[in-house]
Subunit: 467 residues, 2 copies
């Protein structure tokens, strides 16, 4: 049993660390007078005189019946939120619009739950629509094997955990510098949900196996869709927390998330979380499948390729402001909450720092709400808008966040990552991101780094001894 | 900052309290042999011979492209889940199909999040579709007033909390005995979500007020839809945790939940959580609105009506098995996880007990996953199916759960509640519920109580001295 209180983290704010709540309210109170006067006519439709006019001016929704309940037995978002969707670009496709990725509007995210309609979606063969009555999960490669119907699978003791899933290619287009002036496209290859399913270790224990007697070093997860995604997972992770899940945020997985079942490998590459899962196979050698050899490997600066890179490293980003949600409607002295996300596939976020000068100096941000392992962690910082969105030295604000986790990791600078890894890795990029706030409050995606030597194609030339 | 680990609560199970994991697995392992043999043809489509046959038999989703991502930029559940929806019955309507309630399929719930498409919905004038650009939140009745656009409102420091909302009429049809042979209709007037918004105390502090200087005892919340729902809330609750919320499970409120904003009064009557919120007014007397006088009051057995009953009392139910999800496919010796929900508007669930004989004897169930205040808490119990679904004494299983909270409350028996309250209260029913498992594994909703004296209409006649 896990017990905790939902403390008001804002009340824990130490005012010396960030602009205090008092200043925020000073600003808000200033709104009060004139606005009320202007809207007075709608304040009470029953007051007669002015009120009569107000009745005439009342919006349709205040005077007419709304939709019957029968119209919304499942329900969708308001038509006014039509712009809040996953997004897709041909640039992100693997040569086919069915084998592509639709990314999450994390700039609009709240809390740590991504609704199922907005959960990022990656597929290699399009979205399969599987009949759960026809579908089976096979356990093969062991002396004792198993074929489970979905009903049988769901009879195992279930567990519910909140975890993010992140594509290891999140911001992988940006090794050479900002590619998208967008937080959705540069950091939205991830989402976070409450998952329900069964630990694979519990299925294996049900067959009589434990860590000592199973005698296998690797597990293959294989998809039942047309792409037949296959990925190999070391048994240590299987015995730790890998799950077969059928529930997402309190309902069945959506088809684009692998309905009826997918693998969940908490904190590790999203690609390992095989969707439309049909088989778990066990052996003593990795399978070296297509998507763990030709892709999802890391090309290092010395020309060697690194395989078996699994956990998504500690990471963070500012979500508001961002290129999508800028400060062009704010002015000097306004108080605003800077918000962002932090996450680590290796454990729990312990601290998030925020810089206004692109990473030279940092202050500590506040972690908000629930802070869970291998889960999105929301953070914020209350800030007063300075003149022209500039630092005291006249430079434009450069917002950079930097997260730390309880495995002891901290996000690297761009310099550190480029020097260590190069620019060809595609996957596992977790250097800090920077937004520059322009004089008009618009926000642009930039990259802060020292002048590394670059070749004619713009590639960083790694100095000897650094690689 | 709240920090916690997502412990595997099952590993904390003490085997003496419930049927152990080992027995569960013994049963599961027995499935292994024959099932694999029967499905062997589909096990490997590349194995030649048998494999060729397998290719011919492969389902369409394994051999053809799935849908392109562009088709699902928002997304809906699988067509095979079409039966998992909110449900509606004319019996629950307040005389009009627009002023009614659609209840949540809690028998299908997982974890503690209800997806927005399944969140229970009650309205008194239908679902309004409000343009957020036209909508304002007014703060009136104080010396300093305020009119906020939605953009201005969202600039306050936000908070995210996970809470249930429950209609106080949940199971209110059942004072005289079971009305619905359904857990959805008898207990589904509630759901649970992650809410994002602003504490009302923070808006008031922004105007320069605090508990001591505001000088008002009551707050009115008024809706902007055609029903103009009005409810009065004591200031103590306002200063505690009442919120104006715009976010639900990481996206904007759905129209049927009050888009763009609603009140959230954690743990208290759902009816207080005014949707399509347009005004917060302050005064020293309650408003005695229609929906807090003609309705949402409690008629006691002495003929007096109780007003100002706010918090939803500690409660629980078994969700699986239930009339909707029965045990007719299980047989003696099968091991199954009995699951349910517990909740209290007064605090945090501390313990859930489960009875197999309708409340004579109880064993302790396990709380699962996150246990948060004023929030659904999931619990379970691993159980071995007995012969004919009978207790050792030959009686049919009578499954009854009983929850306790950290405010010190425990669910009453039916006898206790009927004796104390009578049968006319409509609201705030929280006596224990019972499911009877029949010999064929079907599950029926029953009520276990002593033979109270009843009049010709079936009303309980309360003995003198008990009322």
């Amino acid at each position: 049993m896990d017990k905790k209180s939902q403390t008001d983290t804002l009340s824990n704010n130490t005012e010396k660390k960030s602009v205090g709540r008092r200043d925020f309210f000073k600003k808000t109170a200033a709104l009060a007078g004139t606005a009320l006067l202007a809207s007075n006519a709608t304040a009470d439709e029953n007051s007669g005189g002015e009120g009569d006019k107000a009745i005439l001016e009342m919006p349709e929704w205040a005077t007419k019946w709304g939709d019957p309940l029968t119209k919304n037995l499942y329900g969708m978002p308001s038509k006014y939120e039509h712009n809040v969707t996953r997004r897709y670009t041909k640039l992100l496709a693997s040569g086919n619009f069915r084998a592509s990725i639709a990314v999450t509007p994390i700039q609009e995210s709240m809390g740590i739950i991504t609704p199922n309609g907005l959960f990022f979606s990656r597929s290699h063969g399009g979205t399969a629509h599987i009949d759960p009555n026809e579908h089976r999960l096979m356990i093969t490669g062991l002396e004792k094997s198993l074929v489970l119907t979905m009903d049988e699978l769901k009879r195992y003791p279930s567990v519910t955990r909140t975890h993010f899933i992140e594509c290891p290619a999140n911001s992988g287009q940006e090794w050479r510098g900002p590619q998208y002036n967008s937080v959705q496209f540069s950091k939205g290859f991830m989402s976070c949900a409450e998952w329900t399913g069964v630990y694979i270790k519990d299925i294996l224990k049900g067959l009589g196996y434990n860590k000592d007697n199973i005698g296998k070093l690797w597990m293959l997860a294989e998809g039942g869709d047309s792409s037949k995604m296959g990925r190999t997972i070391p048994m240590e992770k299987v015995w730790d927390d890998a799950m077969v899940v059928w529930g997402q945020n309190g309902e069945a997985l959506r088809p684009e998330q692998g309905y009826p079942i997918r693998l969940l490998v908490p904190g590790w590459e999203g690609n390992l979380c095989v969707k439309w899962l049909r088989r778990l196979d066990f052996a003593n050698e990795p399978w070296y499948c297509k998507e763990e050899t030709s892709k999802y490997t890391v090309l290092k600066s010395d020309g060697k390729i690194q395989q078996h890179t699994y956990a998504n490293e500690v990471n963070s980003t500012v979500t508001s402001p961002s290129p999508e949600i800028d400060w062009s409607n704010l002015k000097e002295g306004d108080v605003v909450e800077i918000e962002g996300l932090a996450w680590s596939g290796m454990g729990t976020i312990t601290k998030v720092d925020l810089s206004f000068d692109g990473g030279k100096n940092y202050v500590e941000a506040q972690l908000k709400g629930l802070v869970l392992p291998k889960c999105w962690t929301r953070w914020s910082y209350i800030f007063t808008i300075p003149k022209n969105f500039q630092n005291p030295d006249g430079s434009q604000l450069l917002l950079t966040s930097r997260a730390m986790d309880d495995a002891g990791y901290i996000q690297p600078t761009v310099d550190q990552e480029l020097t260590k890894v190069g620019v060809e890795a595609v996957y596992h990029r977790n250097a800090v991101e920077t937004w520059r706030v322009e004089k008009d409050g618009k926000v642009n995606h930039v990259q802060v780094r020292s002048d590394l030597t670059r070749d004619a194609d713009g590639n960083v030339i790694i100095k000897k001894g650094d690689a």
